[in-house]
């Protein structure tokens, strides 16, 4: 007798209202896939990249959607990019997040896409990652067993791989309000305006007069994960950001990044963009009107 052939089962769909309920679902079905805005999950489901037995939507979990000001701000993982952009107070404190959020997808995508989804997706091109890296955000990871905090720089382990363990989810980000002398900017280059970054950089400088006392530089789409560029930072810190320094920073960026060649762009062009964007970002931050 020939074996029976059947349609694959559609994933079950759960909509918990609390983290506790979500954890219970995850415990019952460890292979379940979390869904926030679904703008990555649905694309990958449709492409047949994974076949989870269940989807656990986080959209009804209110505690993930908070934005709390403070010395260190708390930004819930379930906050949508559109909500992030609409939060006036947050925009005033972290304008660089607004710059990056505005460049993420289209208006439709931004209303669905969440901050947590952007980071947990762990794509090298995640637009919110470079600014959050230069802000030295910390990831709040929560599970039934409790909460832990890791620096965002340790959150990304590789393409599509994060520090989240079984039963864990990202609940929020903790971001310190920057000191008075600090300013940051985000630059992204696509093939057209609305595109996945071929390269992106976030640069945060702390200046004392003309001197740069601290530089933080992070890059997207230029390595297997969003990443800080330590050599570039070192080339900028402690200098007056003169032309010679910028040339060194450009060279350091071109050296330090590890881009790939794909159908979107060559590694060579991406490397070039890394240098160009770093220099452009520093110039933008030190222009008189930026001060």
């Amino acid at each position: 007798m020939s074996e029976e052939v059947r349609m694959p089962a559609s994933p079950e769909y759960h909509r918990p209202r609390s983290l506790e309920e979500a954890w219970r679902l995850l415990e019952a079905q460890p292979d379940a896939r979390l869904v926030a805005g679904g703008t990555d999950v649905l694309v990958r489901l449709r492409e047949g990249r994974y076949h989870p037995p269940a989807l656990v939507s986080l959209r009804r979990v209110e505690s993930l959607r908070r934005i709390e000001p403070g010395r260190a701000w708390t930004i819930g993982a379930g906050v949508s990019v559109a909500e992030l952009l609409e939060h006036r107070e947050l925009a005033a404190v972290f304008p660089v997040l607004v710059e990056a959020g505005r460049r993420l997808g289209s208006a439709q995508i931004r209303s669905a896409a969440t901050v947590g989804g952007n980071l947990c997706n762990a794509s090298p091109c995640a637009d919110l990652a470079p600014p959050l890296l230069v802000l030295e955000a910390r990831a709040l990871i929560a599970s039934a067993a409790g909460e832990r905090e890791v620096p965002l720089s340790e959150f990304f382990l590789g393409p599509r791989r994060t520090a989240l363990g079984p039963g864990e989810l990202l609940s929020a980000l903790r971001v310190e309000a920057p000191p008075a002398g600090a300013r940051a900017t985000f630059l992204k280059q696509g093939r057209v305006r609305m595109d996945i970054a071929l390269a992106s950089v976030a640069v945060r400088l702390e200046l004392e007069g003309a001197r740069c006392v601290e530089a933080r530089v992070a890059a997207g789409s230029l390595a297997p994960t969003p990443t800080r560029l330590g050599e570039v930072e070192a080339s900028l810190a402690g200098t007056e950001l003169d032309e010679a320094t910028l040339a060194r920073a450009r060279a350091a960026a071109e050296r330090e990044v590890r881009p790939i060649t794909d159908v979107r762009a060559s590694a060579d062009y991406r490397r070039h963009l890394a240098g160009a964007l770093v220099v452009r970002a520093v110039r933008a931050l030190t222009r008189p009107e930026a001060r």
Partner: protein, 802 residues
């Protein structure tokens, strides 16, 4: 130019409201009772022997109604050279070859069934580069032609050549010579509505196919042939065209999926719908041909062109579509864009194992205008002549007969250049803004404006059916695909017949009700349809006025009685109605029949609807007004081996110009301002026309800067809009000066020329010229991506070899 009531006015487009409100029914919206969903299993190899196809698991999936392969269905040969079969047998020649198909109760079951089909292949040698395909040792993509004769080369037996004048003499006369190799990529037509169809048989074996086609009647012919292959001789294929979300050339051929839907519908006895997803459309529908071009042209010391030589190599892919006739249109710019004596043109089309390509808007014209216009800039530089001035020294003019034998009846090219020069502030800007990395550039075009004869009939018919209420139902066999054909046709019928546009209703295109038309290509839709409509309207007016000769006087006599009842004491003016009727002095305008020279009395006029009813309800003498006219344009089918013949009734000209700013770090090109000036003969419907020009411009910008279907060994690497980039509102946020030069062509309906394609023809060279003006880099291979611009800038900075 004739005075008109409706022509040239911005009437609302008849299709607009329903489209905007989401009511227009596209193939995606259509459903039939009992309908099944079809899906195709495509090849995973570009060149292989099919060893075995295992469909057993697919057949056992609940909800599957049929699984078919080439082995258990009749062979249906299709394509321009009949070198393609609907379901492949034994051999695949491209990544997207159709190996098997299923019909199932819903799209998900169909998709799952496809996943369950296993195919065993034995890979065979393949060739992907058209140059290499010409090598004597290259594997043959086809070792036999459609009639079974062995072939020895990958070169297609489609030859289009042209030699005129004395090339050697032209070369000797040249003081300056520019040459180069240029290429244009495979691109996707990127229709908003993806491909699809529904096939349904009645119990007598007649087929109805709802098709996304631009050629309903040539498709009908193809489908009837397929019915014969299926053992259904003498049965009919009826083609109905639903609302189309763009076609851009994708509808110029029939497609394997349509025949597969037929086979599945026949096998299951149920209607079968096939619909491509966006990803399938990218990977499995034919993109625009790619072409490589070698050009040499020269001019004398004054900048007058003395010769031009163009050699084209076109990658056909594995099978042949109508796109293989691109060179017939390439001949037009090659021989006739600017005045040039002494021309050589040769095109070779080569089979490869790449995805087979098909036509797209512009049909070979942009591929050749690109190298012509780019090398003109070189000549201008060498000769020290301003590039716009050099173009004007060679500008086409009315009265000219070009080397190809094109007879230029009207030509507004000079006026187009004048407009562009003024709007771009050319004298101040060209070559003046290098410091700001800004530049301006222009390029021109010539295209068929009065249809393009590449088939033994280039005609089309229109039927006007008038009803008891004064409605005019218009049937035309060409296709509204978003371009505004029905808008132009509505205005033309209203104008030519003498009714108001609200009374004109253009019927859906259906081979069962519409007269034959060769298809909506070559910018011919409005030109042919309106010409036919004018003729049909003239016949209808003759009949109406004959009716009026009998019925007008008694009807207005009744009017007068009623008028006098309402206005006691009213005395009619002294006017002999009977004599005027006998003299046939009738006029029909805005749906009202009047007599020429008659006083404007309210009773002395007859609504068209009343005349029609009076003609209908008169016992045995009753009659209907249904008139047909077939219009065949005054052109000749060129002799392709000589490349000579006046293939169009008139020619369209235009100039595009751009001002751009180039980011020399990222290579990003920002368009600051665009100019698009066109000799359109006459503006029929301004809004539809602007739509054509602006849409063409947007598509041309995509072609110039962003778009390319990337492949590796014949497999499409970027089958979605994530990685196939077309411009969006952000890239197109610049002012456009659109200008129409009205040259009132004698062949045109009301003087109008075809305008569907020109908008994207000169876009790339005009942009390239502006980019070169801005930062000095020259890119020969489209698209001019940021990455290529950065590379060129680096080469420019770094001395060679370092």
């Amino acid at each position: 130019m004739r005075d008109t009531t409706w022509i040239g006015r911005d009437l609302p487009r008849p299709d607009a409201a329903d489209k905007v409100a989401g009511r227009a029914a596209y193939i995606h919206d259509l459903s039939r009772p009992g309908m099944l969903w079809g899906k195709v299993k495509f090849s995973e190899h570009a060149s292989a022997r099919i060893v075995h196809i295992d469909t057993s698991r697919a057949r056992r999936l609940p909800g599957v109604r049929a699984v078919i392969t080439g082995d258990d269905t009749p062979e249906i040969r299709i394509g321009f050279l009949r070198d393609n079969v609907a379901l492949k047998r034994g051999r695949v020649r491209q990544q997207r070859d159709e190996i098997a198909a299923v019909a199932a109760i819903d799209p998900d079951v169909a998709a799952e069934a496809i996943e369950l089909i296993r195919v065993e292949y034995e890979p065979l040698p393949a060739v992907f580069d058209p140059e290499q395909a010409l090598h004597p040792d290259a594997p043959l993509v086809h070792d036999r032609d459609a009639s079974g004769r062995p072939v020895t080369s990958n070169l297609l037996p489609v030859s289009v050549r042209h030699v005129s004048g004395d090339l050697a003499a032209g070369e000797r006369a040249a003081r300056y010579v520019a040459e180069g190799e240029f290429s244009t990529p495979l691109i996707q037509q990127s229709c908003l509505g993806t491909a699809g169809c529904i096939a349904e048989f009645d119990l007598r074996g007649n087929l109805t196919l709802w098709a996304k086609t631009q050629i309903p009647f040539l498709a009908q012919r193809d489908f009837v042939k397929a019915l014969e292959a299926m053992g259904l001789e003498g049965r009919n294929a009826r083609v109905i065209v639903p609302a189309l979300g763009g076609a851009f050339g994708t509808g110029l051929d029939t497609h394997c999926y349509e025949y597969i839907a037929m086979l599945l519908a026949h096998r299951t006895g149920r209607p079968v719908k096939m619909l491509y997803t966006r990803e399938e459309e990218f990977a499995f529908l034919s993109p625009r041909q790619s072409a490589r071009t070698r050009i040499v042209q020269g001019c004398d010391a004054e900048g007058r062109l003395t010769f031009r030589r163009i050699d084209v190599l076109q990658d056909n892919g594995a099978y042949t579509s109508w796109g293989a006739t691109y060179p017939t249109v390439m001949l037009i710019p090659a021989t006739s864009l600017y005045k040039v004596a002494n021309v050589w043109f040769d095109a070779r089309i080569v089979y490869t194992n790449n995805t087979y390509a098909q036509a797209m808007r512009g049909y070979g014209n942009p591929e050749v205008t690109w190298p012509i216009e780019r090398t003109l800039d070189d000549l201008a530089r060498q000769a020290g002549i301003d590039p716009l001035e050099l173009r004007l020294r060679n500008v086409n003019e009315p009265g000219e007969t070009t080397p190809m034998g094109l007879e230029v009846t009207t030509c507004g090219l000079r006026e187009c250049f004048d407009f562009a020069r003024e709007k771009l502030d050319w004298a101040k800007k060209r070559g003046q803004q290098r410091g700001a990395r800004r530049g301006v550039g222009v390029a021109a075009l010539v295209h068929v404006g009065g249809s393009g004869r590449i088939y033994r009939s280039d005609g089309g018919g229109v039927i006007l059916k008038l009803d008891d209420f004064g409605n005019v139902n218009v049937s035309y066999g060409g296709v509204e695909m978003g371009q505004g054909l029905h808008a132009a046709l509505t205005s033309a019928v209203a104008e030519a017949l003498g009714v108001t546009p609200e009374r004109v209703h253009v019927n859906p295109t259906d081979t069962a009700t519409c007269p034959w038309d060769v298809g909506t290509h070559a910018s011919r839709g409005a030109f042919i349809a309106c010409n036919a409509a004018i003729r049909a309207a003239a016949k209808a007016r003759t009949k109406l006025f004959a009716l009026a000769a009998e019925l007008f006087a008694p009807e207005v006599a009744r009017n007068l009685e009623a008028h006098q009842r309402r206005n006691p004491g009213y005395e009619p003016p002294n006017f002999d109605v009977g004599a005027a009727c006998a003299a046939g002095r009738f006029q029909l305008a805005s749906g009202v029949v009047t007599l020429e020279g008659a006083p404007a009395e309210p009773w002395l006029r007859l609504e068209l609807a009343r005349l029609l009813r009076a003609g209908h309800f008169r016992g045995v003498a009753g009659q209907m007004i249904v008139e047909e006219a077939f219009y065949e344009p005054p052109s000749t089918l060129p002799d392709w081996s000589e490349g000579v013949g006046n293939m169009s009734a008139c020619y369209a000209y235009g100039v595009q110009g751009f001002e751009v700013e180039v980011d020399d770090e990222t290579g990003e090109v920002t368009i600051l301002h665009a100019v698009s000036a066109h000799d359109v003969g006459r503006v029929l419907h301004p809004q539809a026309l602007r739509g054509q020009v602006q849409g063409g411009l947007a598509q041309g910008i995509g072609y110039a800067l962003y778009e390319e279907v990337r492949t590796h060994e014949g497999r499409v690497l970027n089958p979605s809009f994530t990685d196939y980039k077309i411009p969006t509102a952000h890239e197109l946020a610049f002012p456009v000066d659109v200008h129409f030069v009205e040259t009132d062509d004698p062949a045109g309906p009301f003087g109008a020329k075809g305008v569907g394609e020109p908008g994207l023809v000169p876009t790339a060279p005009a942009l390239a010229s502006a980019i070169e003006d801005a930062v000095g880099v020259r890119i020969a291979d489209l698209p001019m991506t940021q990455e290529k611009i950065v590379r060129a800038l680096r080469e420019q900075r770094a001395p060679r070899g370092s």
